[in-house]
């Protein structure tokens, strides 16, 4: 009887031990995943803020750049977002833009939205909107940075929000 008691105790304690080990392992893996995710998000925020600053505060280089001669992408000109430059941006290859903006492994989506939150369109060409990049598609991580400004939309000045989205 004494021996049986000991053996059942032993089995139960082994079961408990392995249960504990399993729980700790799962928790540790989750924690590692969280840390990785947090690092990724911080990296994405940092990049998104830098990209938004570059686009919103610089005119790019050369000053009157186009899709074939651009060295640095920038959208700001004389107090406004320059839509001509945005149109040049739209003509550029996605991978080239990603490389020039330094998005790293992340996808990028840039848009200009009006005060109602809609992406602005060219009045003379309604299907032409001012957005660029890969739209978000089943993303694991998304960060969004906004900048404020105005644009001259075929003669009408409009307040806009430039949104830079990085996602992966």
């Amino acid at each position: 009887m004494k021996a049986e008691l000991f053996s059942s105790d032993f089995i139960i304690s082994i079961l408990l031990f392995f249960t504990a080990i399993t729980i700790i392992t799962v928790y540790y893996q989750n924690l590692q995943s969280d840390v990785y995710e947090a690092n990724t998000r911080n990296d994405m925020y940092s990049k998104a803020i830098n990209i938004a600053s570059l686009l919103a505060e610089s005119g790019g280089y050369p000053h009157f750049w186009n899709s074939s001669n651009v060295k640095v992408i920038g959208l700001y000109d004389s107090g406004k977002f320059n839509l001509t430059k945005f149109e040049e941006l739209k003509n550029m290859n996605y991978q080239t833009v990603k490389s020039m903006l330094g998005t790293g492994p992340y996808n990028v989506f840039i848009s200009l939205k009006n005060v109602t939150g809609d992406i602005i369109e060219k009045p003379s060409m309604p299907s032409y909107n001012y957005s660029y990049g890969l739209n978000i598609d089943s993303a694991e991580n998304v960060v969004l940075v906004k900048r404020l400004g105005i644009v001259n939309l075929e003669g009408n000045t409009t307040k806009v929000t430039m949104e830079v989205v990085l996602w992966v």
Partner: protein, 619 residues
């Protein structure tokens, strides 16, 4: 034995349950957070963008046309305003005290600043618009707040645009100013009736000064001490034979005073029944003079000791007041080469507590302590230089180990002209083009007579009232004739300025010798360009002689006035400017030479600003 196995198993199950619970809680409460740094960066970018929109866009471009039409119909704006930068129009409306500045600011920013962000527009600190009362986050609940600012200026609205404008500058003035030489606390033994404590007080007034009035209050350490007084080497008859304290008036000694440096001496003597003599720190020499110097502020960077001689050890307590942030301090004491002084001990007193710096043997008559030595002692006691700004603290120097009672010995001497506390501090800003004035505060009341001292005129409650309207306050200082009936627990000491408590011995140490108190304008509200009130409130056992105490306030007056208003003739414009200048100078200063700058304006109104336009955002 079987029971033991079950118990152990139960233990393991309970342990497992606890572990599962803890882990579950950890998982449950694990939240994903965005670093406040990124939030702050985003807010900063948005506030910068908002300022860029205001400063780079015309009103027409960024403001709702219906609102603009409404303001044009009401005469608040005109058509030409629509093509001005938005920031210029908002600034002009602000300068004209028009509330429409808020409507326009809100209209421009409200539909573009994200809804989860609160914001405020300020000009020179004045609120123009604050979104806190809307559905946006309230400023009071903000967790992260960032602001950006730009300098702006522009033309004023609603003013005539042709005629003459003028400004005036007082190039030469005559001002009535007051110099107060406050005595330090200096004592020595007079166990031997032969001993004397000779204290020299230096009173430097400008070389061109005309002395209008003067008085000298002398108070010895003990009520029975005798003393003699001299002004520039001349014995003052009215002082001879004084016991305890005396007040000398202009007629007693003014005839010996000169412009520039005056040297006053008091020789404190033995008196029956006392073993020490000296200055109890309430002595003050007051000189009211007239000068053409715009700036007469003393140099707080080098505060000299008074010259002292005695044939016994000396305890010298020097109050220091610095109207700025202190970065470095050093002390130098010249106890004169060739004397037999064995050592000099230096301490610093803050809030009634002494902190010993160190004792030194003078080398060639000099004992000195550098910044590191002083700072280390203070820091090790949790005191930083920051808290000394705009308040009195004390350096205490013992020339030889101090004994209250000791026989006549060799001569000790402090050479005041080469003994000083040197202080590096941030000097007062905005002094240029301002005139400093120091005034004795004569409006005071007192109550609650303290009888335990056996002296008349000592009160537990004292109050000073003074008005600094249209002046820029710098600091106020008091010197108190104090009295204490030793008791345990010690009496309560409460100091209040404009209803703000500055010192409370219930939470701070009891101050044995409440000989000085002073403060600058920090914290906000204690010294203002309006009515000011300073109160002392002690409980039984502590009191000051309010009548023999002294308060002074130092403030600035602008020496110029800017353009204001357009006049039909050049003469009218200049007369107006001169009148405004005289008004601002007040009774303290008279301008002996005024320089005017005037010009005609046609279609060009005068300007507002430069001002700081600030946008604050929070989340």
């Amino acid at each position: 034995m079987g029971m033991k196995g079950i118990v152990l198993t139960l233990d393991s199950i309970i342990a497992l349950l606890i572990m599962i619970t803890v882990i579950s809680l950890l998982i449950f409460f694990r939240t994903e957070t965005i670093s406040p740094f990124f939030t702050a960066q985003q807010l900063h970018s948005l506030s910068e963008d908002a300022l860029t929109i205001l400063s780079e866009s015309t009103l027409r471009e960024v403001t709702n046309q219906t609102l603009l039409n409404y303001f044009i119909q009401n005469g608040v704006l005109n058509q030409s305003d629509l093509d001005k930068k938005a920031i210029d129009v908002i600034g002009a409306l602000w300068s004209a005290n028009k509330p429409e500045a808020a409507n326009i600011s809100k209209d421009i920013l409200n539909d573009i600043v994200p809804d989860n962000i609160g914001y405020q527009v300020l000009i020179n600190g004045d609120n123009i618009y604050n979104s806190s009362d809307t559905t946006r986050p309230s400023y009071n609940d903000a967790t992260v707040e960032i602001s950006s600012a730009r300098i702006a200026s522009g033309y004023e609205k609603y003013k005539p645009t042709s005629g003459y404008v003028a400004r005036a500058l007082a190039r030469a003035v005559k001002k009535n100013n007051t110099l107060v030489v406050m005595g330090d606390v200096i004592t020595t033994s007079v166990q031997s009736s032969q001993n004397r404590l000779n204290v020299t007080y230096i009173a430097d007034i400008p070389d061109d000064a005309t002395i209008l009035d003067t008085y000298w209050f002398i108070e010895a350490a003990w009520a029975t001490n005798k003393f003699s007084c001299y002004m520039n080497g001349n014995k003052i008859a009215g002082c001879e034979g004084s016991i305890g304290n005396t007040k000398l008036y202009s007629g007693d000694y003014k005839q010996w005073m000169i412009s520039g440096r005056n040297i006053a001496n008091v020789i404190f003597k033995y008196a029956a029944g006392t073993i020490t003599t000296g200055d109890d720190g309430a002595t003050h020499l007051v000189i009211v003079y007239n000068t053409s110097k715009l700036s007469t502020l003393e140099d707080y960077g080098k505060q000299y000791f008074q010259s002292v001689t005695s044939n016994a050890s000396i305890e010298y307590e020097k109050p220091i007041f610095v109207p700025g942030n202190i970065s470095e301090m050093a002390v130098r004491l010249n106890v004169v080469n060739g004397t037999s002084v064995n050592n000099v001990t230096l301490s610093l007193r803050w809030n009634g507590v002494n902190y010993k710096i160190s004792s030194k043997v003078p080398v060639d008559g000099i004992a000195q302590w550098n910044n590191t030595e002083i700072k280390n002692v203070l820091n090790s006691n949790g005191i930083s230089y920051n808290i000394l700004k705009g308040r009195f603290f004390w350096f205490i120097a013992d020339i030889d180990t101090y004994h209250r009672s000791e026989p006549l010995g060799y001569g000790r001497e402090i050479n005041g002209s080469d003994s000083y506390v040197s202080i590096n501090y941030t000097a007062l800003e905005e002094i240029y083009n301002y005139i400093d004035i120091t005034r004795i505060l004569t409006n005071f009341t007192y109550s609650n007579s303290e009888t335990c001292l056996g002296l008349s005129d000592f009160y537990r409650y004292s109050r000073w009232n003074f008005n600094l309207t249209n002046k820029i306050p710098l600091f106020a200082k008091w010197q108190f004739a104090w009295g204490y009936c030793s008791q345990s627990p010690p009496p309560k000491q409460l100091v209040i300025a404009n209803n703000i408590v500055l010192y409370n011995s219930s939470i701070n140490p009891f101050i044995y010798a409440f000989a000085r108190f002073g403060y600058d304008t920090d914290p906000q509200g204690i010294l203002i360009s309006s009515d000011n009130k300073f109160e002392l409130n002690f409980t039984t056992g502590y009191a000051v002689n309010t009548i023999n105490s002294l308060g002074e306030a130092t403030f600035l007056i602008p020496a110029s006035v800017s353009y204001n208003g357009i006049f039909e003739t050049n003469t009218s414009a200049e007369n107006d400017a001169n009148q405004r200048l005289r008004s601002i100078l007040g009774e303290d200063v008279s301008a002996t030479e005024i320089v005017n700058q005037s010009y005609s304006v046609a279609g060009v109104p005068y300007m507002w600003g430069p001002v700081s336009v600030r946008i604050r955002m929070w989340i």
